[in-house]
């Protein structure tokens, strides 16, 4: 058996609870908007939660396509990495799925559920990678921007003369 059989009949209930749990990490006033506005352009954050959490869940259950799993994690965490969250809050939603599963499926522990929980743990570690990459990228972008602004300026104002790519022969 695989985890699919365990969660099959509860799939939509679990996904819904998980989405709800993520929405609840936002202030109340914001939750209303994130749920209500359906346009993906007017409400990118809500749309991504609606769409990619479902993809993420299915991939966790199937356990086949790591690339797809990372891509949906990236979409969700890329946003949370620049929002008002502590690092643990930004990625913590992954682990929340465990309690949602127990709550929905019941306490009966099966090998399949253990397998799924292991995958969730692994996904939480990947979430940490994704978060770190996003944060790293923000600082890289900042450095790149400064270099672009001032480095070229010095060069163009003839204030620096670096070694050219090709040296003239002696």
């Amino acid at each position: 058996m695989n985890p699919e059989s365990v969660v099959l009949e509860n799939r939509s209930a679990i996904v819904k609870k998980w989405q709800e749990a993520i929405l609840q990490t936002y202030p109340k006033e914001t939750q209303k908007f994130l749920k209500k506005e359906k346009s993906q352009f007017a409400n990118p954050v809500g749309s991504i939660i609606a769409k990619d959490v479902e993809i993420l869940f299915d991939e966790l259950v199937k356990g086949e396509d790591t690339k797809k799993l990372v891509s949906s994690l990236d979409k969700i965490i890329r946003i949370r990495a620049v929002q008002d969250f502590q690092p643990s809050h930004a990625v913590g939603f992954v682990l929340q799925l465990k309690s949602i599963l127990r709550e929905t499926i019941g306490e009966g522990v099966s090998a399949e559920l253990y397998q799924l929980e292991d995958r969730i743990d692994a996904a939480a570690l990947v979430a940490f990678d994704v978060y770190s990459q996003c944060r790293q990228q923000i600082f890289d972008i900042r450095v790149k921007e400064i270099r672009n602004e001032y480095g070229r300026l010095l060069e163009r104002a003839n204030l620096i003369k670096e070694i050219p790519e090709q040296q003239p022969g002696i």
């Binding site: 202030p27 929002q83 008002d84 990228q137 921007e145 602004e149 300026l153 163009r156």
Partner: protein
């Protein structure tokens, strides 16, 4: 050894964030790094005589405010309520219908309810009620009023510098409340206490003395343009010959200094130079100024008085050189200032003439009063009259979409001209979804002086809605180039694209025009202005 929590304990950690259970009036936001910009350095505020120059940091407890800061703030507030009827109306009239609430790019991207335009304005409005209205004084928080305290001031400051004054919210307000104006005047009040940010104060001081935001001196300005002249020669084989500060020229050209020093704006500047060279034989007589070397106006983000002062150099330089009218380059807030304020601040420019294209004879009646036109409308008119030889296929490796800059789109209704030019110079142009362009355009997320580096997180939040729409056309049509007509856009959108939509570059409109422009006597072009091979030239040896 430190005790590590057991798995059962870690599972109990609360991963949800505390909500505003107590209501927004009782819960102050914490000023966080990554979101705020650095405080203005005293040398910069002092240089232009702005009040209370000091070393200060927004995250420090002590903001070194003058003893009577409350008095200064409230007096300034009262004066502005009397002076600007709009402010008085905006303070009184809002019914909190919520139409604006979800229209702000910062709210959409951050999920912070205090970034809802209504809430941001409410931070000032609550002080207005609590300090100035009878009901507010009497009922206090029950009437939505609160006193001006250090905490309310700090929070107000924090959110005033999380608004890019893009005016998207005002488009949806049934009463026409312009929250951008609330921000503008709120920022004026913070300035009375020396609470500016350095990314604004620095450019203001530089612009006041040297003529541009970066403090590029005239000789260095010429050096940089010379550098472009060399680059253009490499690409086209033609040596263009711009001139500077030439008295008696017919037209003065002013553009944001960002075009002259920062990529990818520099390619747009090369585009201007090539177009002017092309038009020379057709009768264009234009000169650049090394003194009025800035189209932008960061004074606009401090106070009306400072904006007026910095803006004055445009007409002053036009008068000094004796030109007939002015053409302005691709810029955002520069055009908002020119379109909405310049005429009453520093006009009427009686000494200038109504702009008339020397090539097509078109009279730009729309600029009858300001005597200043946008280069894009000038170029659109040239194309309409078949005055430019263009080969749009040279831009065939670019799949382009167009970002309407807030200030040109909402501030002056400049919607068709850039699209007309784009369609004439490239073959692959795809619009983003209607609710994200034209009047409803989403801000780049870094306007109004918030394009610093230290607030990169804020910029990424604010940039999300725009980037999200770009991502849509990137995935649907393979868009790889985001065109815009604003120097701040060109400076900040590359960062936003890097983070949200890798694989999309940013370009000014005149860069694309220059790529397509067939110049007399040019060599067989193998590359575009960036040195990238033209379509079909990928295998050329000299690429």
């Amino acid at each position: 050894m430190a005790e590590t929590p057991k798995p059962v304990q870690t599972a109990d950690i609360e991963h949800t964030r505390p909500l505003f259970e107590q209501g927004w009036l009782n819960k102050f936001s914490e000023i966080k790094p990554g979101i705020h910009c650095y405080g203005a350095k005293p040398k910069n505020t002092e240089a232009v005589g702005m009040p209370f120059p000091k070393d200060w940091s927004p995250t420090e407890e002590d903001w070194h405010l003058p003893e009577n800061w409350r008095e200064i703030f409230l007096q300034g507030f009262r004066e502005r309520l009397d002076k600007y009827r709009t402010l008085k109306v905006f303070m009184d009239i809002c019914v909190r219908c919520g139409a604006c609430a979800d229209k702000c790019h910062f709210f959409i991207g951050s999920g912070d309810p205090k970034n809802m335009p209504v809430m941001r304005a409410e931070l000032l409005r609550s002080i207005y009620r609590g300090e100035f209205t009878a009901a507010g004084k009497l009922l206090g928080k029950f009437g939505g009023g609160r006193k001006l305290t250090l905490e309310t001031l700090k929070e107000l400051w924090y959110y005033l510098y999380q608004c890019t004054e893009c005016r998207r919210c005002s488009l949806f307000c049934p009463y026409g409340i312009d929250t951008a104006e609330v921000t503008i005047l709120g920022r004026e009040l913070t300035n009375l206490l020396g609470l500016n940010i350095d990314w604004i104060a620095g450019p203001v001081a530089n612009c006041n003395r040297t003529g541009n935001h970066l403090g590029i001196q005239p000789h260095a300005f010429v050096d940089m343009i010379d550098f472009f002249v060399d680059e253009i020669e490499e690409v086209t084989g033609i040596r263009v010959e711009p001139d500077f500060n030439r008295k008696g020229a017919e037209i003065l050209f002013l553009t944001p200094s960002g075009d002259v020093f920062a990529d990818p704006g520099t390619y747009t500047a090369m585009g201007y130079l090539m177009l002017f060279h092309y038009l020379k034989d057709l009768g264009l007589d234009i000169t650049w100024s090394t003194y009025a070397s800035e189209g932008g106006n960061f004074g606009f983000f401090t106070s009306h008085e400072m904006a007026k002062r910095l803006n004055a150099k445009m007409y002053h330089e036009a008068k000094r050189l004796g030109v007939k009218y002015i053409i302005g380059g691709e810029c955002g807030h520069m055009w908002r200032v020119l379109n909405q304020y310049m005429d009453t601040w520093n006009g009427p420019a009686d000494f200038l003439e109504v702009p008339k294209s020397p090539i097509t004879g078109t009279v730009f009646e729309n600029a009858k009063s300001t005597k200043m036109i946008h280069l894009v409308e000038f170029t659109a008119d040239l194309i309409k009259h078949n005055k430019l030889k263009l080969d749009p296929s040279r831009n065939d490796n670019k799949v382009v979409t167009f970002h309407d800059s807030c200030n040109t789109a909402r501030g002056m209704g400049f919607l068709e001209e850039p699209r007309y030019v784009l369609n004439s110079v490239c073959n692959n142009f795809y619009e983003m979804p209607p609710e994200t362009i034209r009047e409803q355009t989403f801000c780049c997320g870094s306007g109004s002086g918030l394009n610093a580096g230290e607030d990169m997180e804020l910029r990424m939040r604010g940039g999300l809605p725009r980037a999200n729409a770009v991502k849509f056309v990137h995935e649907k049509h393979g868009v790889n180039m985001l065109a815009c007509i604003c120097a701040i856009d060109r400076a900040v959108l590359p960062a936003s694209m890097d983070y949200w939509v890798p694989g999309v570059d940013v370009t000014g409109l005149h860069e694309l025009v220059a790529n397509a422009l067939i110049m007399d006597g040019e060599k067989d072009r193998t590359t575009d202005l960036r040195g990238e091979p033209l379509p079909g030239m990928e295998d050329e040896e000299d690429v």
